[in-house]
Structure formats: C-alpha cells, structure tokens
Amino acid sequence: MTEPMTGIATTQVTKAYPGSERPAVDDVSLHIADGEFMTFLGPSGSGKTTMLSMIAGFTPLSAGSITVDGREISRLKPHRRDLGVVFQQYALFPHLSVARNVAFGLTQRKRPKAEIDRRVGEVLEMVGLSGVRERFPRQLSGGQQQRVALARAVAYEPRALLLDEPLAALDKRLRDQLQREIAHMHRELGMTFLFVTHDQQEALTLSDRIAVFNEGRIEQLGTPAELYERPGTLFVAQFLGESNALRLRPGEVTIVRPERVTLHTGTESVAAGQQRRSATVTDVVYVGDHSRIWLRYADGARGCAVLGAGTTHEHRPGSEVVVAWHPEHEAVVPDAEGNPK
C-alpha cells in the first residue's frame, strides 16, 4: 500500500491512559481525502473525540503517527498544525468582540491589517452575521455564537476543519439549520471537514464517509448508504437506524432495514422468492409522512417496518402478520456473541 500524499492520514494511532484497562483509541489507521467530509460516529467513550483531539494536538499520542499532506504532525504543538477547530461549547473569547475573535487566527499569522479586515468581513458574511462585528459573545444566542466560532475557525484558511460535536449544545431546530449551513460551507470552501458526533442522523445527512467508532476501534468505514444498507457488524446495524435483526442461521445475524420489508395478513400475497417470517405487531406509531409498525418475531427478536404515507393498513397491536422481504436487501453480519470483539 502506498502512502497517501494529500489529506489527513493516521497510522496505527493508539491512546492508552494509565490505569484504564483498554486503550481509549486502539490502533486506528485511516485516510481522510483532500476535501472530504469525514464523520467519526460513535457512542460516548468510543474514542472518536480522543481521536479528534490527537489530530488537533490537544492530546499526545501513545503510539502511531498522523500526517497531513504527507507531513508528520503528531509531535507538533497545536499552534503549528494549521488546522481549524470548532468546539461543542463554542470556546469564543469572552473579552474580545466578534470581529477580534474572528481575526484572532489571522493576527497570529501576522497578516496585514487591511487583509484581516476584509477577511473578517467575508467569513462573517458567509455565516450571515455581518451585523454583529462589534458585539461581544455573551450578547449572542447559542446558534450565533457557534456561527462565529465556525467563521473564526475558517478565517485563516486552515488545511482542514475539525468539528467536535458542534451542534450538541443547540436545540433541535437550530441544529437542523446549522447542519445545512455546515454542509453549505463545506461545498463552498472545498475544505477537508472532520466532524465528530454521536448523532447518527447528523452523520448520515452530512458525511461523504463515516467511520463508526466502538471501544476505541473503527467498527466500519464507508459512505452513509454503504453503512446503512450493508452494515458490516451487528453494532453498526444497531447504532445506525432501526433494523430487523434475525438469527436465521447459527453464528450470523440477518439485518433487514424497516423500509425493505412488507407486511401481509396471510402468506398468499407474498411474492415467490421472498423471505418470510411471522411476527406479532406490538405497536403502531403514526408519524405523519410514514407509519412505524413495531414487531416481535416468534423467537423474541424485535423489529420494525415502515409504511409510507397513504398506505392504508389494518395493523393493530396484537395482530399477527407475515413479514416479507427480498433476499437481496439482506445484510448478513457475524453474531456478536460468537465473535468476540
């Protein structure tokens, strides 16, 4: 394998804290291509934030190396890495005005004053906050503060932007809106984005590729569609979206996504060649644009089916149904119990 020259590459990166039984990050190698939107997704404690922190330079590595465009950076101090970082708690300097916050990185790089002024104006306009240059961070809403933090982190055109759960402190509506703005910024700037989140919806919506972290390792790396349609492990299948996880053969689990199954009241309407299993409806949830039918299979496994809006159905909690799907929509993963990880 040849060493990738552009983008961010990590090679066998490990972080072990003294006194803890397993490493926080365990032998992680991956390559983030130039201009890519990469997301580290995982539950808390999975190592995704530690990984970002090591790339940013806030946490020293126990082993391994990190390169940016082929240049080894893992022993450089954060201020020499030329990366932008956006924090969950904004981390704006409270004693500096918005303009001086945004100018901070440019001032450190000793750019001429005229250029700083122009650039501050440009990035504030990009995040739609031209009118608040002279305000102080505490005078802004949470969403505005995070926009200023985004502007500050891209103002000096760093090599890549690292975002550490930037939307986690915001309420749902702002989160959706900023999600779209971040996607827009990524397209506009063409910059490499590394985004850390525990929110699978966020990861699926924004990313070119997602690295799913679990217990310090990358469980699976792929495009959102690959991870959703073809999960490689039971953990990925269960962490990303809902699924029908059926143990049809010993040692493996068959995953079928809720959109891929159809419900029938008898076996007559099931097309030939389709897989079928009987189940009991446990709950029916109407969500406007679709309905979710929660199921329990004969072996006790739980599952779910999604019916589009306008589908009339007679399913009620307690009714018996036949669940059918096409074999090509199955993903077969190793059973976690027979496969220690």
Binding site: H79, F87, Q89, F93, H95, F104, Y156, L162
Partner: protein, 286 residues
C-alpha cells in the same frame, strides 16, 4: 449588569433586610468617622489648620509616602506569589485543591497577635531565619526592625486576600479557550497573555484593591516588627492619639489616608470597569 432583577415589590421589601446592618454601621462607623473629621477641622480652632500642618510637615509626608511605597511592594509581592499559587489550584484535583485552600486559609485561623509574635521570634537576631541564611553562607540577615521584615510578615497575612479572588476568577475561565487559542495559531505564552491573563484581571484587580488598602492601614505588624524610625501612617496616627493626645492632628492624618484610599479605589474601579463589562457571567458574579 444586564441581568433581569425582580422589580417592584420584592425589591422594595428587601430594603428592610438591610436595616440592622445599616444601623450598626451608622453607630459604630459613620458616627465616629464624622466625629473625627469634625474635630480635625474644628479643633483647636475652626479651619484647615490641622491639614495645613500635616501637608507642611515633612516627616508626616515622608511617612505617608513610605506607607504608600510599602503597601505597593506588599501588593506586588503578594500578587507574584498568589498568582501562580491560585493558578496551580485550578489545575489540580478536588482533594489537592482543598488542601491548598486549607494552607492559604491557615493565617485566618490564628490570632493576629500570635502570628506577629511568631514572626518576631523567626525574624529576631539569632532567630531561625538568620541562622538559616548563615548556614548557606549569608551572614547578618536580621529582618526584625526592617521594612523587609514587615513586608514578609504582611505578605503572609495578605496572601489569602489575594489568592481567593484570583482563584475565584480563574475557576470561571474555560480552559478550552486555551485549546482554541492554540488551534488558532497562538503559542502557549501568547495564549496566556492574550486570553488567560485578561480573563483573570477581575480577580487581580479585586485582590490588588483589598491587599493594597488593607496594607495602608496596618498597625500591629509594623509596630511590632518594624522600627519607629521607619514608622507607617497607622503608627504615627497611633502615637498622636496615645502619646500626644493630638486627636485633631490624628484625625487630619487619618482623613489624608482615607482620601488616598478612596482615590486608589476610584482608579482601580476605572480600570476594572471596562474589563468587568466585557466578561460573561463570571465577572458580574465575582
């Protein structure tokens, strides 16, 4: 400053809660203060005579200047010791922080007299300090009876008044800001100077105000550990009251000290104003 306060009735009712404190202050503080100021202009005859005497008295002026200088040195030394100490307190774990707080509060729990006599014993000729210096080859270090001896003892007393406001301000500083500064290209010294130091300024200013003003009025420590030749204002006032029975003259000198104190407070307030105003909650609460 912009915080929403309950308006109207509850606020009006709260005034009554201040009544006991106001009554005590009126009787034991403002009444004596007014008496002293009145006597300083009314005796022995009405007029600014006592003040002209103080301002025309070279010795009195020298004492005032020496007091200001000593207070300045004490404040500076206390700040230099307290700042790293308070900073360390914000970095360590909860248990170690408790221990460090305990150490710094210890002087509060010992009586002033006991502490001063302890320093007397340490600083005297042939005392522990002199012998310790002699052991490393520096002879003749007797702190007792010198400005240095007074300064050392007063710095110890003043330390908690500097450490506590500093630590309070520093605990309110998000250490993530230093990471942010680093990621933006600032080396650690720059991040400290541009971000941490300005954000800790409210603590510095309140510590400096308290220590400087308290140092101006110190009486027992300089009386016990210093010499009459290097007396500070409080000692001179004491001499005028106790030995010379010159109440009006003492009052005038006291008034001069009060004016100096108020001027210093006003100047520090002017500096603190813009710093405090741009802070998030921390500055307002502190």
């Amino acid at each position: 400053m912009t915080a929403i306060r309950p308006a109207g009735k509850p606020r009006a009712r709260a005034h009554w809660l201040l009544l006991p404190a106001a009554a005590v202050l009126l009787v034991v503080f403002f009444y004596p203060l007014a008496t002293i100021l009145w006597r300083s202009i009314a005796e022995p005859e009405f007029g600014p005579g006592n003040y002209l005497a103080v301002l025309g008295d070279a010795v009195a002026l020298r004492v005032v200047l020496r007091t200001l200088g000593t207070a300045l040195i004490i404040t500076a030394v206390t700040l230099l010791i307290a700042y790293p100490y308070a900073y360390a307190m914000t970095l360590v774990g909860r248990r170690a922080r408790g221990l460090l707080t305990l150490l710094v509060l210890m002087p509060f729990w010992t009586s002033l007299m006991a502490r001063n006599f302890a320093w007397y014993v340490l600083e005297q000729r042939g005392g522990v300090i002199e012998r310790a210096f002699a052991a490393i080859g520096i002879h003749g270090v007797t702190l007792l009876g010198s400005v240095a001896g007074v300064t050392v003892a007063m710095v110890q007393v003043m330390l908690p008044f500097m450490v506590l406001p500093l630590q309070n301000a520093m605990l309110g500083i998000d250490r993530g800001l230093l990471h942010a500064a680093g990621s933006l290209g600032a080396p650690r010294p720059t991040a400290f100077l541009r971000i941490y130091l300005p954000l800790s300024m409210p603590g510095v200013l309140s510590g400096v105000s308290v220590v400087f003003i308290m140092s101006l009025g110190f009486y027992i420590t300089p009386a016990l550990l210093g010499t009459p030749q290097q007396a500070l204002v409080a000692q001179v006032i004491g001499t005028r009251v106790n030995d010379l029975l010159d109440f009006p003259g003492a009052g005038a000198l006291g008034a001069v000290l009060l004016v100096i104190t108020l001027v210093v407070l006003a100047l520090l307030g002017r500096v603190a104003g813009p710093v405090g105003a741009s802070m998030t909650g921390g500055g307002d609460r502190g």
